[in-house]
């Protein structure tokens, strides 16, 4: 009898342990994309995307294990199930939808074309800087324009001033952060807002295609934090206007 009780308790503890493991999510994030996902002076991950994904995890009652990854590895890491979620602003494109699951949009964005010498889209022979793996780089490749790859979007000023690139194409949140920087705004760059398909629209988190239930839970949690005001507080903390 005592043996049965011990076995039952042991089984319960094992089950609880398994359950706790299931309640933990592996989440890939960017570490250098101000103001969305970056490391602050203390080395802590912060930003709009980080705030939102942490709020989602808290709402769902799960533990988030954040790990920095490169943007060009984001989709592949979900396909291989290296991560459960990629908390990176991924523009909703057919290519991405064919490979991974996308949550409901957590904001809406556009892309900003910066140029120093008024070399706007369509100018022949221009070199345009963009972060590898981004929709901006994909857009440039589709157009057949020469792309100069960047490690991060904050390199654009340097690229333009050193004439390594004639223009740079960055996502809206990055452009906001860059323009709030006095040294960048003092460059007196010309800009153009581009919201055509492939450069603007709904921005989502990525979810591994192996866990469709997780996407549903994330969507429901996103609806809840939008309703309860948590989303807007995070929005105000990192961005100057409502981006949803």
């Amino acid at each position: 009898m005592l043996g049965k009780i011990i076995f039952a308790v042991f089984s319960f503890l094992m089950a609880s342990s398994t359950s706790a493991e299931e309640m933990s999510l592996r989440i890939g994030v960017l570490g250098n994309s101000v103001p969305m996902s970056y490391q602050n002076a203390k080395g802590e991950l912060t930003g709009f995307s980080i705030g939102i994904v942490r709020a989602l995890c808290e709402d769902m009652g799960v533990t988030c294990n954040l790990k920095v990854i490169a943007l060009d590895k984001a989709v592949e890491s979900l396909v291989t199930e290296e991560f459960d979620v990629v908390a990176i602003g991924l523009l909703d494109t057919p290519e991405r939808r064919s490979r991974i699951l996308l949550t409901k949009p957590f904001f809406r964005s556009a892309s900003i074309w910066f140029t120093k010498h008024r070399k706007f889209p369509g100018t022949p022979g221009i070199k345009v800087a963009a972060v590898a793996g981004s929709v901006q780089s994909a857009f440039l490749q589709n157009k057949g324009w020469k792309m100069v790859p960047m490690q991060s979007n904050d390199q654009i000023g340097q690229m333009l001033m050193s004439d390594q690139a004639d223009a740079g194409l960055v996502p809206m949140p990055t452009a906001i952060a860059l323009m709030q920087n006095a040294s960048f705004s003092s460059l007196n760059l010309q800009y153009q807002i581009m919201d055509e398909p492939g450069l603007g629209g709904d921005v989502c988190f990525g979810v591994t295609p192996k866990k469709p239930e997780l996407k549903k839970k994330l969507d429901a949690a996103l609806d809840r934090i939008k309703r309860n005001g948590r989303y807007d507080k995070i929005n105000s903390e990192f961005l100057p206007f409502r981006v949803n």
């Binding site: 556009a110 900003i112 705004s185 309703r227 807007d232 949803n244």
Partner: protein, 427 residues
């Protein structure tokens, strides 16, 4: 042997009636539940709509209002900027907000922000220092800013209106649901009471009445008239009850006939010996207990064997029957008489002493003597009787009869056709 005959009952079958009632009640109940469920569904739909549609729409309007306010601020910053960088930043912000999809979703906001965008793109010099007519541009901007402010107010008002509209709709649904419940609940209670009332008056009460009837039923009383029931089963039980009562009465009548026959002498219809002795003992006990006078007597038809021999047994029987008729006429109701032997008769005369008994017996003797018996063949039989009387006031029945028999013997010995009273000194 009589059989219990029950006529086929008329009316509605209880099973059918209650099946229909149950069907109607359950249908109404289901209908009511359906109405309530429909209201619940509407409340849930309304709540879901508020959660999934109204609140997000309200928040979208508030976010739009917030962005329009931010656009006003950014526009003001353009004019208030102290440096080229600041103005550049402010202009960038105005364009960015104006181009954001959240602004474009709303037609009014889109139209107004298009004006703002045109104003900052084409109507405003971008270089510093500000030209002399800067104040004219500022005035134009203030006009646009005012329109933005009004639109912001509209957004907030729309948001509040939307909320109150939805809440009003939800309240209406709940009010309707409450009204329905107010009607349905008493209806349910009423139907339930009706069902209970029907069951009580159609089933329980008739059964109680029949139970009472069964408890009190006997073969003597007339069965009370039973209220006719619309239910066939109750009617059948009532009919069975009436038939049972008839059967009981029939059996009682038969029993009484048999009892009468068992107690009576076939020929004279007087008490037979067994019954006479039983009744006499009871009478004497009662009289002794009440210290009342009582007398017994024994009579014998004189020369009865000779009568039988002369006129045959039929003649003898006729004499016996005639004597019995005399006794029935002359004796009082309280007196007991029985045929205890072939031509021997015994009497108990309550409330009567030996003298009174002697007078009574003398009258009987005289009547017998004075009325010859007419036989069927036209002959007449002149019969006489001898009677012995004995006081039984303080004697047991056997002893008193023994004394009366002794007196009878004395009457016989004394020449017959006479009445003798037993004397205490007599053996």
């Amino acid at each position: 042997m009589p059989m219990l005959k029950v006529s086929a009952a008329q009316g509605i079958r209880a099973r059918s009636l209650f099946l229909w009632v149950a069907l109607i009640v359950s249908s109404l109940f289901a209908f009511g539940i359906g109405l309530i469920a429909e209201d619940q569904q509407q409340v849930m739909s309304s709540t879901t709509h508020i959660q999934e549609e109204t609140i997000p729409t309200m928040m979208a309007k508030q976010r739009l209002a917030r962005n329009l306010e931010r656009l006003r601020t950014a526009g003001d910053d353009v004019f208030d900027a102290q440096s080229s960088e600041s103005r550049q930043q402010a202009l960038f912000m105005t364009e960015l907000i104006a181009a954001h999809p959240s602004i474009k979703d709303d037609p009014h906001a889109r139209a107004l922000t298009e004006q703002v965008k045109r104003f900052f793109d084409h109507g405003l010099p971008k270089d510093l220092p500000a030209p002399s007519d800067w104040s004219r541009h500022r005035a134009q901007w203030q006009g646009l800013s005012k329109q933005l402010g009004l639109l912001i107010d509209d957004m907030f008002n729309d948001s509040i209106h939307l909320a109150s509209q939805e809440l009003g709709a939800a309240t209406n649904i709940q009010t309707k649901a409450r009204y329905k419940l107010t009607v349905i609940l008493p209806l349910f209670i009423g139907l339930l009471l009706l069902l209970l009332w029907s069951a009580h008056f159609l089933l329980v009460k008739p059964l109680q009445r029949m139970d009472q009837l069964l408890a009190e039923i006997d073969a003597i009383d007339t069965l009370p008239v039973q209220t006719s029931s619309p239910l066939r089963e109750i009617g059948a039980v009532q009919a069975a009850l009436s038939a049972l009562h008839e059967l009981l009465r029939h059996k009682e009548k038969t029993r009484q006939t048999l009892e009468y026959m068992a107690e009576r002498d076939d020929l004279t219809n007087l008490l037979n010996r067994r019954k006479f002795m039983e009744s006499a003992a009871a009478e004497l006990n009662r009289d002794h207990r009440n210290h009342r006078p009582v007398t017994v007597a024994m009579a014998d038809i004189d020369f009865f064997k000779s009568i039988n021999d002369t006129y045959g047994h039929t003649g003898g029987d006729q004499v016996l029957k005639a004597f019995a008729e005399v006794l029935k006429q002359d004796l009082r109701d309280a007196d007991l008489v029985g045929r205890i032997g072939g031509e021997e008769f015994a009497f108990v005369l309550p409330e009567t002493g030996p003298e009174g008994a002697q007078r009574l017996m003398e009258r009987i003797r005289t009547t017998v003597q004075m009325h010859p018996v007419d036989l069927a063949d036209g002959r007449q039989v002149h019969a006489t009787i001898s009677i012995g009387v004995a006081d039984a006031t303080s004697q047991p029945l056997a002893q008193a009869l023994k004394h009366a028999d002794a007196a009878l013997y004395k009457a016989k010995s004394g020449g017959r056709n006479r009445v003798e009273v037993h004397q205490a000194t007599q053996a």
